[in-house]
Structures are given as C-alpha cells and as structure tokens.
C-alpha cells in the first residue's frame, strides 16, 4: 500500500488505460449545447441574462403577490386580527400587548403582536415569497444556467477580486444569506472567501426581506436593490485593494444544460421551506415578542436616544426607526415590517430600508460568519474585517444616499 506515483506517471497510466478502453466517435453538437453556447457569448448572453432576471423578478412578484394579497391579507385582516382582538382576554395588560399588540389596529402589519403581525409576516408574507424565490433559484441551479452566468460575468467579478463563480453564493444569498455564506467554501483562497462573505452579509438582502419589501413598498424595491448591488461592487473593488493576499486563477466546468427534474426540485423546495418554518418562523415570533418587551419596559426609547444623533444627523431618518434596527439583529424581514408602523416620507422609507439592509447581518448569518470565518483566515480577522466593512458601508454608502436625498431636495 501507499506506493504513490508522481502526477506525470499517473497521467501516462491514464492515457494507456484510455487507449485500451475508450473509443471516441465524433458526435454532432446537440441543441442544448448550442443554446448553452449562446448563453455565454456576450452578444446573445447579456440580453438573455437580462431577460432571465426580468422574468424571475416578474414571477417572484406575481406569485408572492397572488398568495399574500389574494389570500393572506384578507384572511388575517378580516378574520384573524379582529377575532383575536375581540376574544383575547387580558386587554390592557402587557401580555395582551406582547401577544396581540394594538387593540385598535386594522391591519396585520401594524398590530405588532406575536400572534398577529408575527404570524402574518412569517406565514402570510415570507412563506409565499420564499416559495416563489426558491422555485426560481432551484430551476436556475438544476438547469445548469448558473455556471453559464458565472462565465458571462467573470470580467465584472474580476474587477472586485472575485471570479465569476462567485455568482453562486451571491445568487444563493438572495434566498437566504446563511447558505450563501456557507457556499463561499467552494471559493479558493482566504482573501476571496473573506471578501465574498463580507459583501454578502452586508449588501445582499435575503428572500424574506425582499418578500416584505415587495409587499409593503413595491414601488421602491427595485430601486433599493439596485443601490445595494451597486454598493456590493463598489465595496468589493475597495476590499480587493485593501485586503492583502492573492486570488488564485480558477477554472470551472460548465455542466450540460438539462431540464430540471420535478422530484429533486420539489425536494429542494420542501427542504428550504421546512428550513424557514423550523428556524426562521420561531425567530420572527420571538423577535416580535422581544421588541414588545423592550417597548413595555421603555428600554426602546433609551436605545433610541443613544443612537439618534447618527440616525438623524448622518442618515436623515427619525429616531422612530430604532425599533426596526433592533428587530434587524434578529430578522431583516421583521425589521422592514416594523417600519410600516411608523409614518415616514418616501425618502425616509427608502433610506431606512437601505440602512436596515446594511447595518448588521441577522443573527443566523452572523453565526454562519463565525463558523466559516474560523476557516477563512481566522475568526478575529474575519469578524473585525466584516464589522469594519459594514460600519464603513453604513456611513459612506448610507451617507451618500442621504447626500443624494439632500441634493434632490427630498431629504
């Protein structure tokens, strides 16, 4: 045992075995091969990619909206909320406040009790959004389109020190940052992994957050997304210069195009939805509970006063957004939903959502950062680096947006 060949000798052996066992006939390129080729050549590939993105966005909005607005909003607003407000005992006590929320609220976003808004956000808004989004992501994954997108985008990613293949964690992060950060494992080199992990957790909004955004502020969602993605590339370019280390060249296989098979597609969809129901949903409910306890004990206003100078002075949003910031530590979807309870100008709404997206990863992503950071250049380096990046992003990228607002006369 253990008599090892050097690579050259091994390849010679491979050649000899192949000589004795394999025959190649020339085969014509199949239709799938031809289409695959069109997807990676710039002149046809970019229009195709834009069409795919547009189609995805349309599908996401239509399907999520169909379930949320068509079924869950009437169900929760007309039946569940009034019934709970009526029948739940202990009105006026803190128990009622934590579980049911505002007894006079007329919609399920604003009541803000665990059993009203908590359930509504999780089941009524996030689940339909995730189902739609995960369906799209799974089709992209299984068809073999993602690696082709990687080839197409390789040049752009090179500018920020990454390879085209970095679209994989990026695309996954739009579903949920946690698997996105985990997927950075397949990137080579500590520098590349660090840059990607940081950019993902700072700039990419997750599917749950997108779902709530789409439901509350559909008119601004696309715009906010563009601003965040622009930030992704700008900060990537900066990090590429600042972070030491090199990024090794990378060659990746392009798998054949295939029709997604229904069974694995269904399995994936089921697995990811189950993942949300078992780990995400409890977080949303507990998050609402924690927020309400902070209100009842008046701690919320203490935190509000502490961070008000930054919020109002630098970013131009009222101190009322503090609860949303607190919620953002737990769940970004909850944080965005929280904003619906306060009166904001359009500028303040957009700024607040950008702020919530940038300022801190949710706790699940943070845990994954710790786990993966340990193997990508050391925990302290990754955590401090990510933290520094997110603070810089919040102040510079957020501040820049405030400046834009001032220049345009809306802030």
């Amino acid at each position: 045992m253990d008599s090892q060949l050097d690579p050259a000798a091994r390849w010679n052996l491979v050649d000899e075995i192949a000589d004795q066992t394999v025959e190649y006939e020339t085969a014509e390129a199949s239709v799938a091969d031809e289409i695959g080729q069109l997807m990676v050549s710039p002149w046809t590939g970019f229009p195709f990619a834009i069409a795919v993105l547009y189609g995805m966005w349309g599908f996401f909005g239509a399907v999520a909206g169909f379930f949320t607005d068509g079924y869950f909003v009437p169900l929760f607003d007309r039946y569940w909320l009034p019934w709970l407000q009526e029948t739940f005992p202990l009105e006026g006590t803190w128990v009622y406040f934590v579980l049911v929320g505002d007894p006079a609220a007329t919609n399920s976003f604003e009541a803000f009790g665990m059993l009203t808004s908590g359930l509504f956000i999780a089941v009524g808004v996030v689940v339909p959004a995730l189902l739609a989004l995960y369906f799209i992501l799974s089709v992209l994954e299984d068809s073999g389109y993602i690696p082709r997108l990687a080839v197409l985008l390789d040049t752009f990613f090179h500018r920020i020190g990454l390879h085209g293949f970095a679209v994989v964690p990026m695309v996954l992060s739009f579903g949920c940052n946690v698997p996105g950060v985990e997927a950075t494992r397949s990137l080579e080199g500590e520098k590349q992994r660090f840059i990607m992990m940081t950019l993902l957790s700072v700039f990419i909004p997750c599917g749950a957050q997108l779902g709530v955004m789409l439901s509350l502020i559909p008119q601004y969602t696309g715009f906010i997304l563009l601003y965040l993605i622009a930030g992704f590339f700008v900060f990537g370019a900066v990090l590429n210069r600042v972070v030491s280390g090199s990024i090794p060249e990378f060659i990746v296989d392009i798998p054949p195009l295939r029709w997604p098979r229904p069974r694995p597609l269904g399995q994936k969809l089921a697995m990811r939805t189950r993942g949300f129901l078992t780990t995400g949903l409890p977080f949303v409910l507990v998050g609402v509970g924690v927020m309400n306890v902070l209100y009842v004990t008046d701690l919320m206003s203490v935190i509000g006063m502490a961070v008000q100078p930054v919020l109002t002075g630098w970013l131009g949003v009222p101190a009322d957004t503090v609860p949303a910031l607190v919620a953002g530590f737990m769940r970004k979807d909850l944080a965005v939903a929280q904003l619906s309870a306060i009166a904001l100008t359009p500028y303040e709404t957009v700024m607040s959502v950008i702020m919530i997206s940038l300022y801190f990863p949710c706790v699940a992503t943070f845990v994954m950062l710790i786990k993966e950071g340990r193997n990508s250049g050391g925990l302290t380096r990754v955590l401090l680096g990510s933290l520094a990046t997110l603070i810089a992003a919040l102040f510079i990228w957020g501040g820049l947006f405030h400046l834009l607002g001032i220049v345009m006369g809306v802030a």
């Binding site: 091994r10 004795q20 006939e25 085969a27 985990e182 494992r185 798998p255 697995m271």
Partner: protein, 179 residues
C-alpha cells in the same frame, strides 16, 4: 472482504455524487447542476445483505491534495476512517480525469468500486468505454450508471461487496501485458 465501517462517495465536482447518494440511501441531499453544491458531507444508511452501513456523500474533489475547504473535508474523511470502502464516481463524459482520481485512490490502498455515471450522455457524445476491459485493467468493479434516472443503482448496490484494493503495481503490470 469484511464489512466496511463506512462507504464514501468520492469524485470530481458535479459528477452526480449527491444524486447517487440520494438513490442509494433514500436521502435528500441537495442536488444541483453545478460544481460545489455539497460543501459539507452528508450521511445516510445503505443496506447490504441486511446489514446497515453508513454511507457518506463527500464534497467534490479534483485530487487528493486539497486546494479548498470543501476538498479538505473529503480528504480528511478518507484519512480518518479505517476500513472505509470508496465508491469512486466518474463522469463518463470526462473519463480521463476521473480515472486519474481513481488511480490516486488505488495508490493510497483504498477498497474501491467505480461508478461510471452519466453513461447516457457519454453514449450520446460518441464516447464508447469498454467496461469489461476497464474492470480487468483496474482490478475493481466498474458499473455504468445514470444516477438521475436510477439506472445502474441496483447493480452498484449488489456489487458493493466486490470492492477491492489492488496495488498500483498490479494495475501497471496488467496494462503492460494488455497493450
């Protein structure tokens, strides 16, 4: 051979290890059509002749000298477990480099059985592999398979206990005699 303590599915990225794993263990590891879907291992159970043996789906690796974190996971799994049985998975359309990895496995003395996956695609591309001869040259069972459609899975399962650990010298001798 005696019963292995573990069965490891080892192969390049995107050769279908997870699909094969799901078929063999009735599990639901995430399958995707691109490299690097499995970054950590997944464990399931395979029943051979009434005995249950743990079977492990590993992240794809190009060689046994790891270059990224996902590859390290695979190499560690191979090194840690004694009397582990390896199911080497090859994408038949990229036969040569898969074979290279199989030789590496043989050199390190692992009990091996080879699954020639994506057999249908190879045929369509005009690649014709003489399985019997390959089996004789390597000295380990070689089973053509189309994991996505479940073809070859039964044979693979049945022949798992024929897995064998030939020495690389034996392989070299047979090749010399064969040509």
């Amino acid at each position: 051979m005696s019963d292995p303590s573990q069965i490891l599915l080892v192969g390049h990225p995107n050769v279908g290890k997870s699909v094969l794993f799901n078929r063999l263990a009735g599990a639901s590891a995430t399958e995707s059509n691109y490299s690097g879907t499995t970054v950590d291992y997944a464990e399931g159970d395979l029943v051979i002749d009434g005995d249950t043996v743990p079977i492990i789906d590993t992240p794809g690796t190009f060689s046994l000298d790891p270059r990224d974190r996902a590859e390290e996971v695979t190499v560690e799994l191979l090194e840690d477990a004694a009397d582990v049985l390896v199911v080497g998975v090859i994408d038949a359309t990229r036969f040569e480099r898969g074979l290279n990895l199989m030789l590496e496995l043989i050199e390190r003395g692992h009990e091996l059985l080879v699954a020639l996956n994506m057999w249908d695609q190879a045929r369509r591309k005009g690649i014709d592999i003489d399985v019997d001869r390959l089996e004789w040259l390597l000295g380990v069972p070689v089973v053509p398979a189309v994991a996505t459609e479940g073809r070859g899975i039964k044979t693979l399962q049945r022949r798992i206990d024929e897995a064998h650990a030939p020495s690389i010298e034996q392989v070299q001798t047979r090749i010399r005699n064969g040509s």
